[in-house]
Each structure stands twice: as C-alpha cells, then as structure tokens.
C-alpha cells in the first residue's frame, strides 16, 4: 500500500494576532483521508488555528503547510464551515443559493451556473439529507439543519481539506448523525478534515487524530493515545474531573 500524502504540516508553528501570541509551538502532521479534532477549552485558540490554516492569521514562527503550500495559497482547495448560529437567520437566501456559494469559485463572476454546478449542488444537499429543502429560506431551517446546509456548501466546493468550526454545538441528534455521515464519506474520498469541538465522544467517533490545545499544544496523535485523563487534565486545568480512573468529564468548555 502506498504511503498517504501529508496534507497538513505544523512545524513548530506559532500564530499571533499582531503582537499578541495566541498559539505557540504547534507540531503535527495530518494525511489524506484523515480527520483531526481540535480540542481545548474556550479561548484555547481553536478558531485561531483554523483561521491560520486559511491564511487569515499570520504564522509568526515556524511553518504551517496546507496541501504542500503556504495556507493563503491553498484556499482554492480548502473549504471552511462556520458555525451556523453566527449567520443572520433573516437573510433572504434560499438553501440552494447558500450551497451554490460553494461553487462561486468555479462559476466566476459573470457566467450563469451550469447544469454541472446545479447537479453538484443537488448532490451535496442529498449527502447531508436535505434534498427536499432546496427552495426553503435558509433561516427557516433548524440550527442543526443550517449547519448541514453549510457543510453541503463546503462539499459542493469539492475541497481536498475541510475545516469545521464547532459544527456540533447545539445540534440535534438527527443532524449530528447526518454531519458525521457526510464527514465520513468525504474522508473516504480522500479529503482531510480538521474539526474543532468540545465533544470528546465525537472526537472518538469521527476523528483519527486529536490535537489538544490551550495556547500551547498538549498532545497531537491518534485519538486513543492522546485523549488520556492526564493530558485532558493538563489541557483543561482545574475543569477536568476524573471518574473511576479512566473516564474524564470536562466541566467547563
């Protein structure tokens, strides 16, 4: 079997907003078809790392490489999924229009969406289980369904890397299942996935690797090896409780 190509390389990377360092000394590698969970408390720098992977926050020391390129030059092949509840529910766009936004780079400014664009849009909606809602207004959907639409938008862009910012926050069980399925099938097609989450169970379920973050890196590696009580306690400080030796509850996220 051939070695899978690395898609994300963190090499002693430090990330800063202006003069304020946010994340320091990150190290790790993610390969094609792998998913990595970013885990850490609020303010740990998970969203900042995602922005750095998009080239929107500068790397001040070390190196970040996305798909073999500096992050800002890899954007064409990277899709970003924001948290659905950061978007205005009154905005007058249909579900179909939102998903079509994922095709904008291919469509350009003037051309009308082609039959292929429409087919990709429809297929992406199908994959998140919302094919019947294409014509509904985005804001009329539930929070979990909106999150699925945003994932469909990313799928329609045919990315080689997918970045998701807290996609499971406040999401119902049906939507969570649909999101996990869709992420799984993207991985099978060779895309790499980076997902920030509070939810350790989801990290276990969906991700091969975990990156424990709180300003610094507290671990990066296979989920089973990294999600240990000791490391979680180190990452979360006083907010991790141990139950019967091997299970950990994080009391503040």
């Amino acid at each position: 079997m051939s070695e899978r190509a690395p898609t994300l390389v963190l090499d002693r990377a430090s990330v800063a907003y202006g003069d304020v360092p946010v994340l320091e000394e990150l190290d790790g590698v993610v390969h094609e078809g792998e998913a990595v969970a970013l885990i850490g408390p609020n303010g740990a720098g998970k969203s900042t790392l995602i922005k750095a992977l998009l080239g929107l926050v500068p790397v001040v020391r070390g190196r970040i490489e996305v798909l073999g390129r500096p992050p800002a030059q890899a954007r064409r092949d990277v899709a970003y999924v924001p948290q659905a509840d950061t978007l205005d529910p009154d905005f007058p766009v249909s579900v179909e229009q939102v998903v079509m936004m994922g095709r904008y780079r291919r469509i350009g400014w003037l051309r009308r969406p082609s039959a292929a664009d429409r087919a990709e849009t429809a297929e992406a909606l199908e994959r998140v289980g919302l094919a019947g809602r294409a014509r509904d207004r985005f804001g009329t959907l539930s929070g979990g369904q909106r999150q699925r639409v945003l994932l469909a938008r990313a799928i329609a862009a045919k990315p080689r890397m997918l970045l998701l910012d807290e996609p499971f926050n406040g999401v119902d069980a049906v939507s969570q299942h649909a999101l996990l399925e869709a992420i799984g099938s993207l991985k099978e097609q060779g895309a790499s996935v980076v997902v920030s989450t509070h939810d350790l169970a989801i990290a276990h379920l969906a991700c091969d690797e975990v990156c424990l973050l709180n300003r610094h890196q507290f671990g990066f590696g296979p989920t089973g090896d990294v999600l240990t009580p000791e490391r979680l306690r180190a990452t979360y400080g006083g907010h991790a409780l141990e139950l019967r030796g091997d299970r950990v509850i994080v009391t503040q996220t």
């Binding site: 924001p82 978007l87 905005f91 766009v93 249909s94 936004m101 469509i107 400014w109 003037l110």
Partner: protein
C-alpha cells in the same frame, strides 16, 4: 387623469424622470445597505458629502455641486472603509464624530454666503422641480455605472453580506469589496443631492428596500421590487405635492412629500408582509403536522 396630468409640464416631467432613475439606483444600492446593515454608515455618508456640495457650489456655482459632491463622496467612502476596518475607536462613535464634524464644516462654509438660508435649504432638501436635462444625464450615467458594477460583483457581494468569515476563507478581498459598497452609497448621495438633498436621500436608500424585503424572501424579487417602490414613491410624491399646490393652494415641499409617499408605501408593504408571514407560518405548521403524521 389626476395621476398623469401634472407631467405635461416639462419641469414636472423632468422631475419625474429624475426620481424614477434615482428610484432604480437607490433601490438597488438600498437592498445591499439593508443586507449589510449599513444604514448608519449610509447616513454618515449623506452628511459627509455635504461640505463637498458647499465647496463645489462656492467654486463653480450650481454646476460645481455634482463634482464637489463626487470628490467628497469618494474621499469619505475611502475614509469610512478604513475607519470601519481598523476598529481603534468604537465604530458608532467614530461615525458620529465624522458625520457631525464634516456637516459642521459644510454649515460654516455656507453661512459665510449671502442668501445663506435659501442655499442651505437647497443643499439639505434639494430642488427636484428645477432639475435640468444635464442633471438627468448625470443621474442616468451614475445609475448605469453603479448598477453594472453591483451586477458584476453580485456573487462576492452576496457571500460577503451573508457570511463574512466564509467570504474571507474563500479568498474574497473583503476590504476592497466594502470600499466598492461605500463608494456605491456615496454615488447615490451624489446623484440625488440636487434633486432631494443630502438629508432626504437616506429615505430613498432605506425605505424602498425595507418595503420590498417585507414582500419577498428572494433577492431576485426584492431588488426589482425596491426599484419599483422607489420610483412609485417619487411619482406619488410629485403628484400629491403638485395637486396640493394647484388645487388647494397648499405648498408642500416636493422632496419631503416624496419621502412621506415612500413611507406610506412602506406601510402598505408592511401590512401585506404581515399577511404573507402569517400564511407562510400556517403552511409550515401544516407541513410539520404532515411530517409527524408520516
């Protein structure tokens, strides 16, 4: 017929054409202002164009107004874009300062003139009944340029309005796009300044777009509808102010009457929108009930 008769007079016909063109321009830009929640930024631009109007008038009389407004509009659009992207000061406070400072500069300059009050009134509220053919051409040219620009940029504009982080992530140059929007708003003010004045133009931007939003959830409908409401408000306002003055000897300022006509249309749209939302809600409930039953 009462709705068409006034426009046999050439000056009324010119006023109508001007307001219809402005309706299309302000309707299109207004929808963008509404989506981006830029009402206060737009209001600031209407005030910061004012000193340009005064300086243009001082330098070259009535013909200087357009060019003075254009220069001030572009300069302040750039300033505002920088200001709202830096966030050193709270955005609202910075805008309010800029708005009043430049407005005061305009008032100081105009107060040094003889005939101060009449000039000031004209700059603030416009003189739609004295619109010249040259002005019509200027308004039409600005409208074509702005509408074409926004049509070309419609996809990045929509993405940026809906999801700014997503737009940045997709490589959209958000700063540049915001500058284009601010300049588009400034150009509406520039085009409208002699007809409706710097104060009333904000109504032309906001009210038709808000009315249209009540009537539809689809942008492909909202934009033309906003243009239509803007144009209809202009027409209705002119008819009312003309008939009031001819039939009842009541002098109603035409610019302000147009604004009130727009607000009346908004009232109608709001009522229709309420009915529409109720109907949509009961449809959604029925569908939910069917889904549960299935």
């Amino acid at each position: 017929m009462i709705l068409f008769e006034p426009f046999h007079l050439p000056f009324m016909a010119r006023a109508l054409v001007e307001l219809v063109i402005l309706g299309v321009l302000a309707g299109t830009v207004g929808v963008l202002v509404l989506l981006r929640r830029l009402a206060f930024v737009s209001d600031t631009l209407t005030h910061t164009v004012f000193p340009g109007v005064v300086i243009g008038h001082l330098m070259a009389g009535d013909d200087g107004i357009f060019w003075g407004a254009l220069a001030a509009g572009v300069v302040t659009a750039v300033l505002l874009t920088l200001l709202t992207h830096r966030r050193r000061v709270s955005e609202d406070a910075a805008l309010a300062m800029l708005l009043t400072t430049l407005f005061a500069v305009g008032v100081v300059l105009v107060s040094r003139q003889t005939g101060f009050t009449s000039d000031l009134t004209a700059f603030l509220f416009g003189r739609v009944l004295t619109v010249s053919e040259e002005q019509l051409v200027q308004t039409a040219v600005v409208t074509v340029v702005v509408v074409a620009l926004l049509a070309v940029l419609r996809r990045p504009l929509l993405l940026r309005a809906f999801d700014p982080e997503g737009a940045r992530a997709a490589g959209v140059r958000v700063g540049l796009l915001d500058l284009v929007v601010n300049i588009a708003v400034a150009l509406v003010v520039v085009a409208a300044v002699r007809a409706v004045g710097t104060i009333l133009v904000i109504a032309l931007l906001i009210v038709p777009a808000a009315a249209a939003r009540n009537l539809s959830d689809r942008l492909a409908v909202i934009v033309p509808l906003a243009c239509l409401v803007g144009a209809a408000g202009g027409w209705l306002g002119l008819v009312v102010s003309y008939q009031a003055s001819v039939e009842y000897d009541l002098r109603l300022a035409s610019g302000a009457t147009v604004v009130l006509a727009l607000v009346a249309l908004y009232g109608v749209a709001y009522a229709a929108g309420t009915v529409r939302r109720r109907a949509a809600l009961s449809r959604a409930r029925r569908r939910a009930a069917l889904e549960v039953a299935a």
